[in-house]
Point group: C2
DNA sequence: AAAAACTGTGTCCACCGGACGCTGTTATTT
DNA sequence: AAATAACAGCGTCCGGTGGACACAGTTTTT
C-alpha cells in the first residue's frame, strides 16, 4: 500500500458526480468496526450499509488496506493542541488524549500493527509530542521518548482489551494457582483499580525527568 | 475460543495412530508465519506443507484461532530462569528475552491482540517477572509493572516492524518537512542507532527504582 | 454535437474457515 | 480370535472474502 494515498489531495474530476466520498466510506466502516470489530469490516458490508455494491467502493479506495488506513487517520483525528504547563504535564495530557482515541476505537489497536504508511494526523500527533519534549535531550532521545510514550498508550490499551471483563488471566489462572506463586501473591493484595496506564506513565515520566535533570 | 485447549493435556486415544501432532502442525504453521507473515497461515497452506488435506487438521485443532494460540505459546517458549543479580538486572534480562521472542517471530505481535486466552507459557513469563519485582510495591503495582514492561517490549517491537527498513516515517515525511518542524529538528540530530527499546527500558526502570527507594 | 472521462454494476475468480458424512484403521472388549 | 466402538483422514459443500474486468449510463470537456 502506498503512503501517497493518505497525503495526496483528491482533485476534482470530470465524469458523473461521485455519490460517495472516501470520508463517508471510512465513517461507515468505522461505525461497523466500533460496533463489531475490525474483522466485520468487509467491502461488502460497508457498501451494503451505504446502499451500494462493493465494487463501487473501489472507485474511491485502491483496496481494504487503504480503507483501514483512512479509518485510522480519522479515528486519531488531528493532534490535540496542548499549550502551556510543564513539559511533563503536556506529555501526560498528550498520552491521555491518545488513550482516549484508542479506547473509543479499540479496533485501531489492530490497525496499527505491521508495516504501514504514516498519515498526516499520525504525523501530527508525533509533532505535537516532540514539540514539548525538552531539547536537553538529543534528537534520538526525543524520538525514542515519543516511541515509548505512544507505545505505552497502545500497549496498555491493548492489554486492557485482552484482559477484558472477567479477566482472561484469572480465568486461566483458576486451577493452576499452585504453579504460579508470585502471581497468586500479587493478586492477593490487588485492589480492583485499573491503574496500569497512569502507573506506567508516571514511572516513565519520572525516569525522563531524572534524565533531563541530570543533563542540566 | 476456550482457554482449556491450551491447558488440558491430551490423553492417549483409541483409534488409528494419528499421523500428526498439534506441535508438528503448529511448527509448520510457524515456519510459514516466520517467512510470510501470519496472514499466509491458512489451514489449506499448513496442511499442504505437511502433505495432508486441510480438514485433517481439524482432528487436532478446533479451528484457526486455537492454532494461532498454540503457535504463540511455542513462540514464547518457557519463561527464562533468571536467578541472581539485582531485581533491576533481572527485569532487564527478562525484557531482553521477551524481546528476542518477538524479534524472532514478528507475527506474534499480531497474535497477542484482542481478547484471547492466556497459555501456560505466557503465564510462566508473567510469573518469572513477578518473582523478581520488589515486594515493597503493592500487588497492584507489581501487576502493573509487569504490564508496563511486557507492553513496552511489544510496543517497541511493533513500532520497529512498522518502521521497517527505509522507515515509513521518513518516507511519508519527505516533502512535508515544513509542516512538522519539531520532527525535522529531532531527525536532524539523530544518530541512526535503534535505541528506543533500551532507552525506554532504562527510563521505566529508573522510574521504578525511584518509587521503590521512596517506599523504604 | 462529439468525444473523453468517469461512476456504479454485474459477473467471475481463487481463496478462506468450517460443517458434515464417508471409508478405512486400530485398540479395546467380548 | 472375533466383534465393536472410536477414531483418522478425505471429499464435498457452503457462505463469505478481496479483487479483476468489462459494460452501460452520466457528465464534463472539446
Amino acid at each position: 500500500m502506498s503512503a501517497d494515498f493518505l497525503w495526496a489531495e483528491r482533485p476534482k474530476r470530470r465524469g458523473p458526480k461521485p455519490a460517495l466520498t472516501v470520508e463517508a466510506i471510512a465513517d461507515a466502516a468505522t461505525a461497523i468496526a466500533d460496533a463489531e470489530g475490525l474483522a466485520a469490516v468487509s467491502m461488502q458490508r460497508v457498501a451494503a450499509d451505504l446502499g451500494f455494491t462493493k465494487m463501487s467502493l473501489y472507485r474511491y479506495l485502491p483496496g481494504r488496506a487503504e480503507l483501514v488506513a483512512v479509518m485510522l487517520e480519522r479515528a486519531l483525528g488531528p493532534a490535540p493542541e496542548i499549550s502551556g504547563g510543564s513539559w511533563r504535564d503536556a506529555l501526560v495530557t498528550w498520552s491521555e488524549c491518545l488513550r482516549e482515541a484508542y479506547i473509543g476505537h479499540p479496533w485501531a489497536l489492530e490497525a496499527v500493527i505491521g508495516n504501514r504508511p504514516i498519515g498526516p494526523h499520525e504525523m501530527g500527533w508525533m509533532e505535537a509530542a516532540l514539540a514539548r519534549i525538552p531539547t536537553t535531550l538529543t534528537g534520538s532521545e526525543r524520538m525514542d521518548t515519543v516511541a515509548v510514550l505512544a507505545g505505552h498508550v497502545r500497549a496498555i490499551a491493548a492489554q486492557e482489551a485482552t484482559m477484558g471483563s472477567e479477566s482472561e488471566l484469572t480465568k486461566s489462572f483458576a486451577g493452576h494457582a499452585a504453579e504460579f506463586p508470585a502471581i497468586m501473591a500479587a493478586l492477593r493484595d490487588t485492589t480492583g483499580a485499573d491503574n496500569a496506564f497512569h502507573f506506567g506513565l508516571e514511572r516513565i515520566l519520572d525516569g525522563l525527568e531524572h534524565l533531563v535533570n541530570g543533563r542540566v
